[in-house]
Amino acid sequence: MLLSGVDRNRRLLTAAAGIVLAAVMGLVLIAGFRLATQIRANVGTLQQASELEAYPSAISEQLTALRQRLDTLEYTGHVHGELASSVRGFNRDFTALEHQKGIDPTAMRAAVALWTNYTPVLAKVLSYHGEPYSDTATNSSLSRSGRVFYAHVRRAELFAQANAAALHRELAVVSASLQARTAAAASRLRWLLSGGVLAVLLLGLAAAYLQVARGRGERAARDAQDQTRDILATVREGFFLLDADYRIGAVWSQALTTMFGRGDFAGLTFEELLRDKVPTETLNTAMKFIKLLWGERAHENLMKSINPLGQLEVTMDNGRGGKETRYLQFDFHRVMGPKGVKHVLCAVGDITSSVMLTRELHEAQENAHSQIDMMVGMLHSDPLQLGSFLDSASAGLKHVNAILKEPARTHAEFSKKLSGLARELHSMKGEAAALNLMSIAQRVHHLEDMLAELKARSELTGNDFLPLVLKLDELLAHLRGVREMTLKLSSLREQPSPADGTLSTPALRVPTAGPEELASTLQSLAHKLAEDHGKDFKLALSGLAQCPPAYLGMLKDCLIQMLRNAAVHGIEANEVRRAGAKSGGGQVRVDFRRVESGYELTFEDDGAGLSPEALKEAAVRKKLLSEEQAAQLDNRAALALIFKPGFSTRNEVSMDAGRGAGMDVVAKAVYGLGGRIGVSTNPGRYTRFKIALPALGETAVA
């Protein structure tokens, strides 16, 4: 395609050479013909001239012969006739010669002058008619007229003898000049022919050269075509041209075939190319965009900035009966012709791997962030607390494992298993969140999601628990990682100080969390909950120091759960609080004190309170009660619903509440220690939980 211009020029040159060749040959032929004609005429004239040369001496001899015959009285008739014929012939030829071109004019003039002198002398001889002798029978003597004739002949003989040489000389010069002229013409013809032959040779050479060059050009064009084909077969981008009807041209790059899984692109419209591979809406936008490319408003940069196909998600058959998603990048370049846009060149790249890479990078970044977050969280938390959490989490997971190993056959048994797992995991999540160990909390949350899904099934088998086991293994591995990191961190903290060089206590201590740690855990959890849920409240703690170590673990579990409930259900959003004429921030009060019968924990928030009717409705919705049963409950019994397993008033599941495992855990723990739990509320004003725990040593009695 690129060579067409050169090719055309070469063809023009060849044609021009042919025309010049023909013209030169024509000219040579015409000139040669004219020269030949001229030479032919000259040759005739030359012959006449050389014949003329013989006449003067012939005339002279004939006159002498005539005079001798008259002397000897012989017959003169035939000699007289010959002389007359000679003179006639000379006259004829000489007159013809006079009008020929190229004759030496001086010699010709001299010859004419001489001949003019001849004419009267000869005329007198030739004009004689009759018998020169007196007696015709014997020719005895000259008659009177014979004597006159004799005198004329004698004079003419003498004249001719005197002038023949001169006339012959002049005629020879004339003849020589004619000869020279003929020779010149012949020489010209020779040159002309030589020139003609040379021109033919040169033109032949030029034609041969052009032919060779043309062959070379054609080969180059073929090579170029081959190269274009190779480029199109090898390039990794899909290239094609679109015409004004948005149809694909006859040439496209091979990469398109693998990208679109077809090979019939020629004549295909752009719409047909993408149909069934992208959503209709995207296709419509793409077609509008391509239409715009043909408009005069489409500047390259503008069109690039609004190109909707820069990262196009397409769904393709993967050739194995399934579908796969790929990402294609379309670039458009306008090809301008003399009448505006001629084509649009489309370049398609498969950017699937780069899109995937970007995603993976993003995920890896998120992962790294969460790891860093976790490390920062660990740095900020007390190593003792961390240790105690990890211990209790390990114990919890062991318990989970034990639950999973319990034999179960009936649906009820599986259900019970699930409830047990849910309770265990829920408290683990609460503690992880309290310690800001979000990576653990998220994993547990995920496990809870799986549990919830299992719970929703009507039929359960042992196999359904398998994914759960895998996920638990993953969580265990993660916990081990966290523990290792904790050890490293604590060994960092316990490095011998360079100042005194003494070794401090070994890194691992028995993690027993005291009331102070509990207080700080609760405060940090409160802070985090407030942040996460956009609530504004303060946590006031009192009397925790009086808690005996034996109750501390249970107290922690219960308080974390109740604090979470208060933050999610109890304390209202700020706007709601202002509308209800409450003070700006909410208040959560925790009071632990010794009482006569043992210990009493009061947990109170000044939030929305509980609505017995709402609780009943929720219980019915959760199918914990039938409508009839619910209708029979009084307010006290309705409030007690929140201690029932599987109860929650929130519909959507969040990390901190809504799974219905909330107060159920608390109540179970309290009952486990022989305590009691009660709730009182004033809708719109407060919710108060009171937990009574037996004095230590009295447990067995109670």
Binding site: E281, T282, T285, K288, F289, K291, L292, R297, H299, L302, S305, I306, N307, P308, G310
Partner: protein, 130 residues
């Protein structure tokens, strides 16, 4: 002779700025660096823009797309019907390419993404008007 030279100068280009954000409107007004560009009005939504366009007969309109009452797409459609020769530069934060294509199809002449630099704004205006 001076008067002859004066008539050779470019005529004033009347600019109408349409954006629901007061800050963006002022930003465009201050950032444009053309001596012969005269801001004839600013509008906060499509309806105001059409009314102002009717009164002030602008040559160039900078158009936001997401606006209350009447959005940019609708406004472009009506503006082009009312004044086919008006040049419209869409200035929008929309990353959605489909909307940009839609705006161009309805008759917009240029597209500038928010946030933009002074230089980008002036180049976009120059490309449309000169």
């Amino acid at each position: 002779m001076d008067t002859v030279q004066d008539t050779g100068a470019r005529r004033t280009v009347k600019l109408l700025i349409v954006d629901d954000s007061n800050i963006v409107r002022r930003r465009i007004e201050r950032s444009q660096q053309f001596d012969d560009l005269q801001v004839v009005g600013t509008a906060a939504n499509g309806l105001e823009a059409l009314e102002l366009a009717r009164r002030t007969n602008p040559d160039l309109v900078t158009m936001d797309l997401t606006m209350p009452q009447m959005d940019g797409i609708e406004c472009i459609t009506q503006l082009v019907q009312m004044k086919p020769e008006v040049r419209i530069l869409v200035i929008s934060a929309l990353a959605d390419k489909a909307t940009a294509v839609e705006a161009m199809e309805r008759g917009a002449n240029g597209f500038l993404n928010k946030p933009f630099t002074d230089r980008q704004l002036n180049e976009a205006i120059a490309e449309l008007m000169y």
